[in-house]
Each structure stands twice: as C-alpha cells, then as structure tokens.
Symmetry: C2
Amino acid sequence: MSDSTDANLQIGEVAERTGVTQRTLRFYEEKGLLRPPTRMEGGFRLYSDDDVKRVQKIRKLQDLLGISLAEIKEMVDAEGILRELRAQYRPEAALPEKRRQLEKAIEVTQAQYAIVQHKVSQMQEMGAQLDERLKLFASWMKELEKLERETAAAGR
Amino acid sequence: MSDSTDANLQIGEVAERTGVTQRTLRFYEEKGLLRPPTRMEGGFRLYSDDDVKRVQKIRKLQDLLGISLAEIKEMVDAEGILRELRAQYRPEAALPEKRRQLEKAIEVTQAQYAIVQHKVSQMQEMGAQLDERLKLFASWMKELEKLERETAAAGR
DNA sequence: TCTAACCTTGACGTTCCGGTAAGGTTGTTC
DNA sequence: GAACAACCTTACCGGAACGTCAAGGTTAGA
C-alpha cells in the first residue's frame, strides 16, 4: 500500500498537472490553502499527490462557484477533516470532538450543496433564455435572406 | 407609450435597485460597460431604467458565468445590437450591415450558451458528489450516535 | 438661509494572481 | 570538475475589479 503523503513532485510538475502557475501554488501556500511543502536540501519544494488533488479541488470550486479563496479554504479544510475522520476511523475516544468535526463538515457541505443547486437553477433559466433568443435570431436571419434575394431579383 | 430612455434616477437609487455600490457604477462607466449618463446642472448623474436593467444583466453574467468585464462588455454590446435591430426593424437599406450585426450577435449568444451548458453539467456532477458525501456523513453520524449511547450505557 | 442627505472627483487599499528580475540548485555532459 | 541548461528561489511591480476613505460641491426641505 502506497503512502500517498510521500512528497516527490517539484513545483513545475505540480503546475503542469494542475494547470495553474508556479506563482499560484506559492500564493496558495502563502494564504494557507496548501500546507507548506517539504523541501529538498537546496530549498526546492516537494509536493505529494494529495497536494495535486487539493489544488484541483480548489480550482474547481473557484471556477464553478466563483467564491473567494477564504471561503474555499473553509471548504477544503473540511475535506481535510473528512480525511482525518476516515483515517483514524475509529479510536473510540474523543467522541464529542469527532462529533463536532463531523457536524462542521456536514454544515459546510450542505452550504456548498445549496450554492450549487441555486446556481444550477439560475443557469438553466439563463440557458433557456439564450435558446429562445437563438431561435429568434434564426428567424430574423431567414427574413434577412429573403429580403436579400428579393433585392437581388429587383436589381437584376 | 413611455420612452424608456428618460433618465431620472440618481446614482444612489440605481445602486439600491441593483445591489451594487456607487463606486461600481462609476467604474462600469469608466470601463465602457455603461454609457456615460446624462447629468443634472450640478453634475449629478441621471440614469434610466434601461441602465438599471443593463447593470442587472452585467451582475448576472458575472455571478453565474464568472467571466471578465471585457467579455461581458462584448455580450451586453451584442444586446445593444439586438435592441437596435428590433427598433429599426426594418429600413430595408444597409442589409449587409444588418447581416453582419446579426451574425455577430448569434456568435456571441452561441458562445454564451456553450459556456452555460458546460457549467451546468459540471455543477450537476459536483452536486451529485456532494449529495453522496452527505449521505455518507449521515451514516457516520448514526454510527457515532450509537457509539455514544453504548458508551453512556457502559459508564452508567 | 441653513442644514442633512446626497453627490462629485481623487487617491490609496485589497484580492488574486501574472510577469519579470536577479540569483541559487540540480543534473548532465564534456 | 567545470560548464551549462533547466529548474528553482525570493522579491517586487502590475492589472482587474472593485472597497474605502477624504475633501468638497449640490439639492431639497425646514
């Protein structure tokens, strides 16, 4: 079984895999969205596959939901809790602590779900409007073409 | 029939109706997203109902599609063309010009439609994942509660 | 006429990075 | 083992899309 936390990717590799710039990866680190990676002797950053996944998650949340990095941090931190919960499932002790973590994760996930549902319905509405408009344009275009043919025939 | 281009709203009114700040309205004007409004003698800006609608359109595009103001400008300009086409429908003259405008409007609208469809499907996928996760959380929660009850019973 | 509420134009601050500079590290080749 | 390209480091400036004062002008009502 592979330890998925072994860090062996340099920043360039991660940038390529995730489609973000090295600048962005350092920025996320600065803002606490990525844990400070381990370093080589010379100071080069070393990332793990988990880091790659985390970056991909961040980008998806940004792209689809269009929310701030601060909010995204809350969400991905909740993901971290999920991993923790799953990993040490279950030491039987510290039940109240686990319960709080789980409640927090549920809360964040529900909020995220609500945003998604809301946006989906808004966008479907928008899509319908655009579709109608395209049909209108198509009919206008036919009108125009007819007029053009008539003009051409008259001018002949 | 009311001339919808009569400008009688001050910037504060418009800000309130649209939910954006006055700063944002001035910024949109600066960037060409809103036509420079007429002014009162003292220099106060006067907006029309059409301006309000335009601002609402801009915000919706930004919020739902998360695209740049430059791209939004293209889209709302295309809307303007639509209004023009509809208004002077049809002076019979300048057909090639009209055709080009219409083609541009169709192109922009189709691009917008494609973005919407793509995002909708991505978000639906995300919604499904979140739903699954919530179910998982719910089952964990039940587990936790069972453990708590057992612990309480043993400690009694 | 005076005052509260509203507006004006700056100018600087913030978020989320992109670009570029000036220099250190790594790995390969001669 | 010295050179060299490719890769990395920190650091700082720039831009988009505004937020937030600041200092003063305008309007409408008492």
